[in-house]
């Protein structure tokens, strides 16, 4: 019994400690200028005000940044789901020359950090006229190796007999992919969609490099920019952080089961 009380006490305290930064962020975002800069720190706004959110909306044009983040995250997710699922399915269920070589090449190149590609990729996109456009984010995000790998793993478990049956019924390859494979793969597609959405939403370094205009910034880039100008205003910065974080928390809470499964799947050794 004592062991149990101790265990729960420890779990509750550590959970609270983990959440304290968010609680303070939320509280401070509803305070007037300067109200959060007090000692000892306070968590509950008094008086409660929306003035910081008003400033974000009216003076700092954060709606545009929000739209940029949302559009980019959704576009990258849709395109990459489509590309990755076709490739993952082909690797799982087709026999073709060079399959093993291609797959191993992809797998082993997962160790290459994305920073290595950034300089030439910047020049390539610049020559295509895509710097400071949505395309600069969407194009490099169209396909990714981890996604192909996850979908392949999942498709391997789909029985061949289902595919054979559809083929006998006269279905074309694309119809089989579209009508047999995709519906069966929905759980892994949802998982991948969350990874892709959150990854694009949260990304910082690449958008910082390729988006050069205030009106094109994603939320993290805009927030970082604001931070370096408004260091003195924690209340405003906290409101900006809340706006940035709320969507990812909603997506995560709604679909956490799939997200957690995806992490576990990604860690399974071949």
């Amino acid at each position: 019994m004592i062991k149990k009380i101790f265990l729960y006490g420890f779990l509750i305290i550590t959970s609270l400690v983990t959440l304290v930064p968010f609680i303070w962020m939320l509280g401070a975002s509803f305070m007037n200028d300067g109200a959060a800069s007090v000692f000892p720190p306070i968590f509950i706004p008094d008086p409660f005000t929306l003035v910081q959110y008003k400033t974000l909306l009216e003076k700092l044009n954060i709606t545009q940044n929000f739209i940029n983040s949302l559009t980019l995250s959704i576009s990258v997710t849709i395109v990459s789901l489509f590309f990755n699922s076709m490739a993952g399915y082909a690797f799982a269920k087709y026999r073709f020359g060079g399959k093993k070589f291609l797959f191993n090449l992809l797998l082993s190149s997962m160790i290459i950090p994305s920073q290595v590609t950034m300089l030439p990729l910047f020049l390539l996109l610049k020559s295509m006229g895509f710097i400071n456009t949505y395309m600069a984010i969407i194009i490099p995000g169209m396909a990714n190796i981890f996604g192909i790998f996850l979908i392949r793993q999942y498709c391997l478990a789909i029985p061949d007999s289902l595919i054979e049956a559809a083929r006998i019924d006269g279905a074309t390859d694309f119809q089989i992919y579209r009508k047999v494979i995709l519906p069966l793969a929905i759980p892994i597609l949802v998982t991948l969609a969350i990874f892709s959405f959150l990854g694009t939403w949260n990304d910082f370094l690449w958008p910082l490099i390729v988006l050069t205009d205030d009106s094109m910034y994603t939320l993290p880039v805009s927030l970082a920019n604001l931070m370096l100008e408004h260091t003195k205003d924690p209340e405003l910065m906290m409101a900006g952080s809340v706006v940035t974080i709320i969507p990812v928390i909603i997506v995560f809470l709604a679909l956490q089961k799939y997200y957690i499964k995806g992490i576990m799947m990604g860690s399974v050794k071949e």
Binding site: T14, A90, T117, L119, N202, I245
Partner: protein
């Protein structure tokens, strides 16, 4: 005939993803490698014909650059402190949440996990204020214990440890999930057999849990190392690499050289050193794992 058709279908299914990966990933990797042997700079941006092959000069210059050693040292320091700490905390949390005594697991798991999904830039901003020397929560807690305020992010001695603490907080939930999956794969009868032989909790942990978790731990150490070696956003937001370059990381150094000063050839050589270190680090961990098996 049928086989041939389905081969063509496979290539069609692969074409979009693979051409995207080849053009926007593999090609840039090769180009970056070539660039690292060139004097590609701001003039080359306007006139490509001014680029010259300069052999190993970038790499030689890099190994002569005190700022490179600072960045290298900082990044290693960060990884060596944050890596093991993060793995230990995630293992501890996983063991706690895997205990049969605990109910409402999903609630605790959720609160440990929330920092993982939240936007790094946003939480780095929050932590910047948590570390505030006058009004921050950390100094307030310390003041309760009678400890004088510390200028966490303003002092070269404490800036990196402060970033370490924040990064462990941000990441441990991810590895915790993988550890929980690993723990659930350990057959229950191993523990039962050990109990019959009179083993205590610590002995069971040492001779069953840890060895059975070895593959999981290897996987976690590799992804943690790779992730932490790419440290960028935390110092960029919290300290801009300061004070006195005490939190300048390799990626930030690369970013500054490449995208602020447009020394792209030089910057490419930094990127390849980063890649090389990550590669060696991965190989070493596989070797350690093999030798303990």
């Amino acid at each position: 005939m049928k086989f041939k058709q389905s081969t063509i279908a496979a290539y069609i299914f692969l074409a979009p993803a693979l051409s995207a990966i080849f053009i926007f990933f593999f090609l840039p990797v090769i180009a970056a490698f070539l660039m690292s042997f060139s004097d590609f700079d701001i003039y080359a941006l306007g006139d490509l014909s001014s680029v010259r092959f300069i052999g190993l000069k970038n790499y030689l210059q890099l190994f002569d650059d005190p700022l490179f050693y600072t960045a290298l040292q900082n990044t290693f320091y960060f990884m060596i402190m944050a890596g093991p700490l993060s793995i230990a905390v995630s293992l501890g949390a996983a063991l706690l949440l895997n205990s049969k005594l605990v109910k409402f697991k999903s609630i605790f798991r959720l609160s440990y996990f929330i920092p993982v999904v939240t936007t790094l830039v946003a939480v780095a901003i929050v932590w910047r204020f948590i570390y505030h020397p006058k009004f921050g929560i950390i100094n307030y807690i310390l003041s309760l214990a009678g400890i004088a305020p510390v200028d966490w992010l303003g002092d070269p001695a404490t800036a990196m440890p402060a970033i370490v603490l924040m990064s462990v907080w941000k990441n441990f939930g991810y590895n915790m999930i993988i550890f929980i999956a690993g723990l659930q794969n350990i057959p229950e009868d191993l523990y039962e057999a050990a109990s019959i032989e009179g083993a205590n909790g610590w002995q069971k942990f040492k001779s069953i849990t840890l060895p059975m978790l070895a593959p999981t731990t290897l996987f976690i150490s590799i992804i943690t190392m790779i992730g932490y070696f790419q440290l960028f956003s935390e110092p960029y937001i919290m300290t801009q690499g300061g004070p006195l370059n005490s939190t300048l990381s390799i990626v930030q150094f690369m970013y500054q050289e490449g995208f602020r000063w447009w020394n792209m050839g030089y910057s490419a050589s930094i990127a390849f050193v980063l890649f090389f270190i990550i590669f060696i680090g991965t190989v070493i961990q596989f070797k350690i794992q093999k030798s303990t098996e």
